[in-house]
Symmetry: C2
C-alpha cells in the first residue's frame, strides 16, 4: 500500500515535470486560451460538477459537519458561474511569462537580461472550498506552471469533477492534461511522500489551518511558501482624528472576524488613549467584541477584561481584540515586531513622518496607512485571484498572484564573447 | 560546552536581529558611509590584518596545506587594497533599499506600492578566501541587512581581524557593531545550532564545496539559497560558424577550469558534428583537455575516451570535458535539463529562432547566447561583488548582488478606506 502510494507520488511528480517542460515553451496565447477554455468547460459541465458535489454534501451530512461547513462546501450553478468568472479574470491578466524584468548592456557589448519564466511544478495542499481548485489551476496555467492539487477529503468528489473538466479544457487547447493533476486519493500518507519529490516539484503552497501548514513545513524537502497566522495590528498614532480611528478599527475587527487579515490587536498612543479608548472601546463592545486590555486600557474602560501576555500573540479569528497603550511610535513598532505575525499591520495618522517611520520599522509583508487591514488581499490589490498569502520573506510576500508563480532567468547575449 | 555553544548561537542571532531593526530604519547615506568607512579602515589597519593573517599562514604550513591553498589564504598590502576597492565599489552602487518596485492606484483610490526592504538577518557559511568576509559584510550593510559570518577555520585569525576592523567602521558611522558579527569559534558544533535559529535569522547562504552545502541544507531550519555544482553545457547548433564554436569552447573549458561556470559538457548538432568535432576536439586535446565522448564522438575523434553515463552528470573542475552528438535542438534541451545542474548553459548559433527556443526550454538560471559560460558572474553582469550564486528557483537565480539581499513590503495608503 505504502509502496503503491510511493509509486503514485512519483508518477504524479514526473508527469507534472514533463508537462512543465511543455508549458515552459508554450505561447502566452495558448495558455490564455487554455484558461478561457477552463472557464467555458466549468459552465458547460456545471450539472456534472453539482452532481458530484452532492456526493460530498451527503458524506458531510453523514459525518456530522456543521451547517456552516456544509454551506461552504456546497456548489450550485451560481457558485460555479462565480468560479468561471474568477478563472476568466485570470485569463485576461497580463501574461507574466517572458517579461523582461531588468536588462542592460555591459561595456564589452554583452547584453544582460533578466527574463521572467515559470517556476516549473507547484504543489498546493489545501483544505478550503472547491473554488480553490479552479483558482489555483488557472493561476498556475496562466503563469506556465504545472500543478498538483491536493484538496481536503470533504470536497474530494467535487475536486475530482472540477479536475476532469479542467483536463478536458487543457487538451482542447493543446496543452498536456497533466498540467493540472488532482490527487486521486484521500489517503493522508500520500502527502509526506509527495513532499519529498524535490527532484520534480519546485514549490509547495499549503493553505488551511496552522496545523496543516506546520505539518507540511515539517515534512517537506521542497521549498514552502506560507503563512501561519495573522495577528494584525491597528496602531492609532497621536496625530489621528477620532473618526478615522473609529471607522477603520470597527471595519478591521468586525467586517469579517474569521479571516487572517482581520485586526486582532489595537495599540493607542498615550496622547489619544484617554479620549479614544472609552469611545472606540464601547463601540466595539456594542458590536459584540470582547476587549482584552492592558492595565492602562482597563483603567480607561472598566468593561475590558485584563489581557494575559498570550493575548498579545493571539489570532482570535473571533469577536475578541487585545488593546494596549504605548508611549511612543517606536514602542508601537517594537510591540508589533515582537508579538505580531508579520502579516498586515496598520498605522492611522495624519503625520507623514510617522507613517514613513512605521512603514520602514514594521517588519511585515503588508503595511496599511489609514486603511483597514481587511484590504490585504490579492483581489483588493488588483492581482485577480490569489494563490496564497506569504508571511515569509523570500521570493514573495503578502498576497500572491500569477506573477508570484514565476522566477527569472539571466539571458546573456554576445557575439562570440570570451572572458579574458 | 554544548550548552555554551547554544547560548552563544542565540546571543549572536539575537544581537543580529536587534541590529537588523536599526539597519531597517537607517538612511541610505548612513549605510553607504559605513561601507566607505569599512574600505578606509581596511587600508588603515592593513598591517594588523597582515599580522593576524601570518598566524593563519603559520598554522596552514604546520597542517601541511598545499602551496596553492596557502597562496589563496595569504593577505598582503596589495590584496587588502583590492579588498578595499571591492568594498568601495559596493558602496557606490545604487541603494536598493526603499526602491518602489511596482505600484498602482486602485479604482477606490487606495494606493498600492511594492517597496524594496532589507531581508533582515543573513548568515553566510563559507570556506573560501578571507576577501569573502569583506565582500559579504559590505553587500549586507549596503542592502540594510545584519549578517553573521562563519568562515573556514584556516582563515580564522584573518577573518577575526577583518571583522574587528569592520566593527570599528560601523560604529564610527553610527550603525550597531553587531550589524556584522564574525563567529568567534572554529567549533564545528556551532553551525547546526546556528542553523536552527529561524526565529532570528532569515536567510542562510552557504559557499564552498558540495559537502559543506549539503550539510548546511540538511541541518537548516532557515531558508537556504545555494548552488551545489556547475555542470555547464555548450551546445553547438547546426547554424554555427566553426570559428565561433572553437573560440568559445576553448575559453569556456580552459580559461579557468576549476570554477563553477567553466564548461563541463559539449553538445554538437549532428549536422556540424562531422566537421567540428575533429577540429575542436584536437584543439582541446592540444590545450591539455581529456575528452570523454559518446559513441558518435569517439567515431569522429579516436583520441576521445568513451564516456560513462556518470560523465554526463559530472562537474570535473578540471581539464576534462564530456562530448555528445544530438539530432535536434530539442534533444539538446532535453539532455541539458536531464543531466545539467541548472547553473549556466550556452547555445552557439546564428539562428534567432533556435536561440529563443533554447532560452525558453533550458531550465537554468543563466542562459548564454554566443558567449562563454565563464561570463556567468556577478562582476561580469555588473552587479559589483557577489554574495553567492543560486541554482535554486525561488527568490534569486544566478549571481546574487546587493539587490538579491532584499525583499519587499506592500505599502497600502488610504484616506480612511474601509472594506465593504
Amino acid at each position: 500500500m505504502s509502496q503503491n502510494l510511493e509509486t503514485y507520488a512519483v508518477e504524479l511528480a514526473q508527469a507534472a515535470r514533463a508537462a512543465s517542460r511543455k508549458l515552459a515553451v508554450s505561447s502566452g496565447k495558448q495558455r490564455t486560451e487554455a484558461v478561457r477554455a477552463m472557464a467555458a468547460a466549468l459552465r458547460e459541465r456545471a450539472a456534472h460538477i453539482v452532481a458530484e458535489n452532492a456526493r460530498d454534501l451527503a458524506a458531510a451530512q453523514e459525518n456530522g459537519l456543521t451547517s456552516a461547513m456544509i454551506d461552504r462546501l456546497r456548489l450550485d450553478e451560481a457558485r460555479i458561474e462565480k468560479m468561471a468568472r474568477a478563472v476568466e479574470e485570470v485569463a485576461e491578466q497580463v501574461d507574466p511569462v517572458g517579461q523582461t524584468i531588468d536588462g542592460w548592456m555591459r561595456p564589452n557589448g554583452l547584453r544582460i537580461e533578466k527574463r521572467r519564466v515559470p517556476i516549473g511544478v507547484v504543489a498546493i495542499i489545501y483544505e478550503a472550498r472547491p473554488n480553490v481548485t479552479s483558482d489555483a489551476a488557472s493561476l498556475c496555467i496562466k503563469s506556465g506552471n504545472a500543478c498538483i492539487l491536493r484538496g481536503g477529503k470533504e470536497s474530494f468528489h467535487s475536486n475530482m469533477a472540477i479536475g476532469s473538466v479542467i483536463a478536458g479544457a487543457l487538451e482542447k487547447a493543446g496543452l498536456p492534461a497533466a498540467s493540472v493533476q488532482i490527487v486521486n486519493t484521500t489517503d493522508r500518507e500520500l502527502v509526506p511522500i509527495l513532499l519529498r519529490q524535490d527532484q520534480y516539484i519546485d514549490l509547495v503552497i499549503p493553505r488551511g489551518g496552522e496545523s496543516l501548514i506546520r505539518a507540511v513545513v515539517e515534512a517537506s524537502r521542497i521549498p514552502v511558501i506560507k503563512h501561519y497566522t495573522g495577528n494584525c495590528h491597528v496602531y492609532v498614532d497621536k496625530d489621528c482624528p477620532l473618526e478615522l480611528a473609529e471607522t477603520i478599527i470597527l471595519n478591521a475587527k468586525c467586517q469579517r472576524p474569521g479571516v487572517c487579515n482581520a485586526a486582532e490587536s489595537l495599540l493607542f498612543h498615550r496622547n489619544v488613549a484617554d479620549q479614544f479608548i472609552p469611545v472606540i472601546g464601547r463601540k466595539l463592545i456594542e458590536a459584540g467584541v470582547e476587549i482584552r486590555g492592558d492595565a492602562r486600557t482597563c483603567a480607561l474602560l472598566p468593561e475590558a477584561k485584563p489581557a494575559q501576555e498570550s493575548d498579545l500573540y493571539a489570532e482570535y479569528l473571533d469577536l475578541i481584540i487585545s488593546c494596549s497603550v504605548v508611549d511612543t511610535l517606536e514602542q508601537a513598532i517594537e510591540h508589533i515586531n515582537k508579538y505580531g505575525s508579520h502579516h498586515t499591520d496598520a498605522i492611522l495618522t495624519r503625520d507623514i513622518t510617522a507613517a514613513e517611520a512605521f512603514c520602514a520599522g514594521v517588519d511585515s509583508g503588508n503595511v496599511m496607512v489609514n486603511a483597514s487591514t481587511r484590504f490585504s488581499d490579492g483581489g483588493e490589490y488588483g492581482l485577480g485571484a490569489e494563490i496564497g498569502i506569504s508571511t515569509d520573506k523570500l521570493h514573495s510576500r503578502g498576497p500572491m498572484g500569477a506573477q508570484d508563480l514565476t522566477t527569472y532567468k539571466w539571458i546573456v547575449t554576445g557575439n562570440g564573447h570570451i572572458r579574458t
